[in-house]
């Protein structure tokens, strides 16, 4: 009975947060990893679960977006593939560049993205869909993501917004790119941690459901303005987390 409740608790938490974050096109690992850890899962197992949950919910959302015709795979694929190439390069470079400096830059970058998101008028949007731009962006984002050990979504989302994509299109693109980086991260953790596969199945079902519900809400229920506000809140939360880790690094808190 207790075990059933334990599994149920993970299911409900995953469902709630995957739904909420899928509404912004991103994964919920940022909230679920510390939450699972506080519920007794070892940090590496919680991270592995978080990465897999991110993959499952964003894959579900991407399939639906492709079928609705709003996801341009041809334009987004170079971004996804190049981000996979950039990530190990960034991870390797972390030996030489202290990630805390990059975090400071990222914190400012996110603030700028949120500011521009509200400043930019609809007609002023650019169309940087050229493949080399996507490849360069993917390499850069992958590199920084590997360097800092953070998920790609927190970097890709503000980068696309800075490039002039509107909030909904950015969310559709991010949900397609994320599984590429998160799945490779998950398989890495799989080699170093022992996983409860029943629990993994439990949270996967919740993540798929959450991805479906969140994406459906975003697509049919939210106007571009509402998605914009929602994404701004997600980005501000990410920024708070980054600023917290910077302050923690310098022993200020």
């Amino acid at each position: 009975m207790n075990e059933l409740l334990y599994y149920g608790e993970f299911f409900v938490l995953t469902l709630i947060f995957s739904t909420i974050f899928a509404m912004g096109g991103v994964g919920s690992a940022i909230v679920l990893v510390p939450l699972f850890n506080s519920l007794g899962l070892p940090l590496n197992v919680a991270k592995a679960f978080g990465l897999f949950i991110n993959s499952m919910s964003t894959i579900t959302a991407s399939i639906m977006n492709f079928l609705r015709g709003v996801l341009d795979i041809r334009a987004t694929l170079p971004l996804a593939i190049s981000s996979i190439i950039g990530a190990p390069l960034g991870a390797y470079s972390s030996k030489f560049i202290p990630p805390v400096y990059v975090k400071i830059l990222l914190a400012m970058f996110i603030i700028l993205a949120v500011f521009l998101m509200f400043k930019k008028k609809k007609e002023a949007k650019f169309h940087y869909t050229k493949q080399w731009v996507m490849v360069a962006l993917g390499l850069g984002v992958g590199f920084l993501s590997g360097l800092m050990g953070v998920g790609g979504g927190s970097l890709i989302l503000p980068a696309l917004i800075l490039l002039g994509f509107d909030a909904k299109t950015s969310a559709y693109m991010v949900s397609f790119v994320l599984p590429f980086s998160t799945l490779s991260g998950f398989f890495t953790y799989l080699t170093i941690t022992k996983i409860d596969y029943l629990m993994l199945l439990d949270v996967s079902i919740a993540a798929i459901l959450g991805g479906y519900l969140g994406d459906k809400i975003m697509h049919y229920r939210l106007t571009p303005q509402q998605v914009k506000k929602f994404i701004a809140v997600i980005l501000i939360l990410l920024d708070i987390k980054i600023i917290y880790s910077i302050l923690h690094y310098y022993h200020l808190i």
Binding site: F66, L67, R68, D72, Y220, T223, P224
Partner: protein, 80 residues
């Protein structure tokens, strides 16, 4: 491959059609959907990909979303 995906798209849109036809959904949502589809179709036209299955799939989707828009216009106008 696109044919299978196109069938799946039909199924999804059919399943979600009722949702899209609800009057409490803002017009902006459907307009933006149509806008994205048309922009993508224009892009394929520019690239000369009008014979591709992706282009056909987009055309079908545009028809369906336009149909949803028409139904919404009639249904929601009557309600108003």
């Amino acid at each position: 491959m696109h044919r299978i995906l196109s069938k799946l798209a039909d199924w999804l849109i059919e399943k979600e059609e009722k949702e899209a036809e609800r009057c409490d959904i803002p017009d902006e949502v459907i307009d933006e959907w149509l806008d994205i589809l048309k922009t993508r179709r224009e892009h394929l036209k520019k690239e000369g990909d009008t014979d591709s299955e992706e282009y056909e799939m987009l055309n079908d989707l545009i028809k369906k979303v336009t149909h949803i828009k028409e139904i919404r216009a009639k249904k929601c106008e009557i309600k108003k």
